[in-house]
Point group: C2
Chain length 418, copies 2
């Protein structure tokens, strides 16, 4: 069978499964999540062998240590993945929630009820844990899922999906609720983007190339788990010791993630005092600095920040630093160059805090805290399937609720419209 | 200037305006809506002259009476359009609503706040009232709007937009909050679909050709104001006199709208009694019947329904009728052929009502009421910008809330992540 009909068949089976999934009780879904977690541990040897094969192939291709680490499974990591499924089982079931309900003058009762989206397709990088996390979150929210992971994780994903899918059907989940696209070709991804009528939402997680391809090719609704070009702005009225702690944390605590800060903006009235302190803090931690002219005047060792740098999510120990003359300039810079992910102000000024929170057009806006908190678990929402930087449907960490839609149920006694 | 740069400039101006719009007080927005309503009446002569020009050109092209009627303005209609703006002024401002708020263990305060989407682009048919309605709803929800109406209404839209835009800026609304794309070419529409970074959501309202073009070309997020292939299912346990009233209302009260019914499904156990009654009711009202074999056995005058008919939104006095042997068959037919808009069951069976409400995958599911109620005003939500049949972001009538997004505002005292 060719890739096109193969993906179409997956889509059809997923749509069929989604009808049955929508009506499952929470009890059945939770039992299945538990069975999936148990099956992962029971099949650990089989899973780790498949992963070793992926690792060997990736190493042979000369893949970098960072990517290899993301790809690698071991017993501890597999246990954590299994525990994530048990954590999802504990979360409240979003399906069936009556979001609101009222009566209209003619006597009709209207309820707005939360329902699954239907079929979720996900295209993501070579991280096997995402395979299991996505399957668990989609199952709990009553959706069928079609997974298309990175090619480097193909062996791991095939075995993981086989194991959890079998455990799920054994616990009463319909066949084809969890499927993986076996081809890791670009063609297969493109077909998935064009399955209108079968895929209710596509969640792409990956770099600029994937996002560009989705923009060009997708015909199905998309939830971008977007990039994060995040900022910390140290205001004129900042508590400078607090600002130092926040800048260090936002940049250095885990530089490879999307909520790490990339650009530091400093108000000119505190630049003379703050920039040298921040430079020392950052360089001491191995951060390469790219500064504008005023930063370089204070610290000539810094290289010159280019226009490109203000747009860049470095994802590593590099930070661009710019001196600004006003809150307006800071807000304007962030709204221009930022990706609408997470941005922070450090200030003791009520007015500056209020304006920053209102005017910054991002999923998460922080006052006096690190950008690193944009995360489903940190927000107390439980596991997330990604962090949305788009404005439709879901913004910020996407938990179970982001995987649902609504419908109106209208009950009458024979009402007709005049 | 060519169309491409022209549309890009509109987008840039709209994005700039959207920043200022987001922070406007409700008072300023309501004053502007009132000023816009007054300006429409004060400029009635000018507006009606432009509309006459559109009507004359459309008539010369031999446009049908139905479309001409949608295009036509007169003093009464203009007054209604102005009153619609005043109705929007009365609606609660969605912007700034704290949807929820909580504290997490480390002391961070998190609020989920409703904010405007930013820039809304709308592509729609030749109905001048939509121009004003959309401008009013977008303004109240703090969005900039870029309008691209049907070419037949070009003169009307240009004057209407000029009048309301001038009134709005006079009342303190930023320049370029309400703009119209002057070119009604397909190229202009395509450019609007590709303005990523400037257009936060595109709302296409129109026929299958427009939807197809949006599917092929759009790179910006889309909210489809979709088609309605709506059904009434008369169950084995239906109150037949009620079923007759509902079928007549759903099909005949206003056949040209999206929530009118197109297909009638009848359970075989009541078909002998119900089909002849329904056929008489419908043919008496000028409805052409297309039936399956079992319907034609009961009423040989009916023409034969084709596979194509089950998929079709007739938008006129035609109804397809099919006899089904079970609730399952009815649900399966609707979920297969329907457009996920509005579908009704007529039944006195608790079990059938419950299953239909749960298993039909549509924006609005009715028990013992006409499908004709799917409408913002009928639901008590106020004016709507369209009815969504997609599952992301908004489903069913899209009022002010559908024109908003959310953001997280996180306030701390120096928190950093461990």
């Amino acid at each position: 069978m060719d890739v096109k009909s193969d993906v179409l068949e997956l889509g059809k089976r997923a749509k069929k499964a989604s009808r049955a999934l929508a009506s499952l009780t929470t009890g059945v879904k939770n039992d299945a999540l538990t069975a999936m977690a148990e099956a992962l541990m029971a099949n650990a040897e089989h899973i780790l062998a498949a992963n070793e094969k992926d690792i060997a192939e990736a190493s042979a291709k000369g893949i970098g240590a960072n990517l290899l680490d993301r790809l690698m499974l071991n017993t501890t990591r597999l246990k954590e993945i299994a525990e994530d499924l048990l954590d999802v089982a504990v979360l409240a079931d979003p399906v069936g929630e009556v979001v609101k309900g009222w009566k209209v003058p003619n006597g009709l009762s209207i309820r707005l009820v939360r329902v699954p989206l239907g079929v979720v397709a996900m295209i993501y990088e070579a991280r096997p844990n995402v395979t299991v996390d996505a399957a668990g979150l989609c199952l709990k929210s009553g959706n069928a899922v079609v997974l298309r992971g990175g090619s480097m994780a193909a062996n791991s994903n095939a075995v993981l999906t086989e194991v959890i899918s079998k455990a799920a059907t054994g616990a009463g989940i319909p066949e084809s609720a969890i499927q993986v696209v076996s081809s890791t070709s670009r063609e297969a991804a493109n077909e998935l983007m064009r399955l209108e009528g079968y895929v209710d939402v596509l969640i792409p997680r990956g770099g600029p190339d994937l996002i560009k391809s989705v923009l060009e090719n997708s015909r199905v609704p998309v939830l971008y788990a977007g990039a994060g070009n995040c900022h910390v702005y140290v205001d004129a009225a900042a508590d400078l010791p607090m600002a130092r702690r926040i800048v260090i944390n936002a940049k250095c605590q885990r530089p490879s993630v999307c909520n790490a800060a990339e650009t530091l903006l400093v108000h000119s009235s505190v630049a003379d005092r703050f920039v040298p302190l921040a430079m020392a803090d950052l360089t001491e931690r191995g951060v390469e600095i790219r500064g504008d002219e005023r930063v370089r005047a204070l610290h000539p060792e810094a290289s010159t920040a280019t226009e490109e740098d203000w747009w860049t999510e470095f994802h590593e120990l590099i930070m661009a630093i710019k001196v600004v003359d006003s809150l307006d300039e800071a807000i304007d810079h962030i709204n221009t160059y930022g990706s609408g992910h997470s941005d922070a102000i450090v200030t003791e000024s009520y007015e500056a805090a209020r304006r920053f929170a209102e005017e910054i057009d991002s999923a998460a806006v922080y006052v006096n805290a690190s950008t690193r908190f944009t995360d489903g678990a940190q927000f107390g929402m439980g596991a997330e399937i990604g962090i949305s930087t788009q404005k439709l449907h879901a913004r910020g960490p996407m938990g179970l609720q982001a995987l649902t839609s609504m419908k109106y149920v209208v009950e009458g006694t024979g009402q007709t419209r005049e």
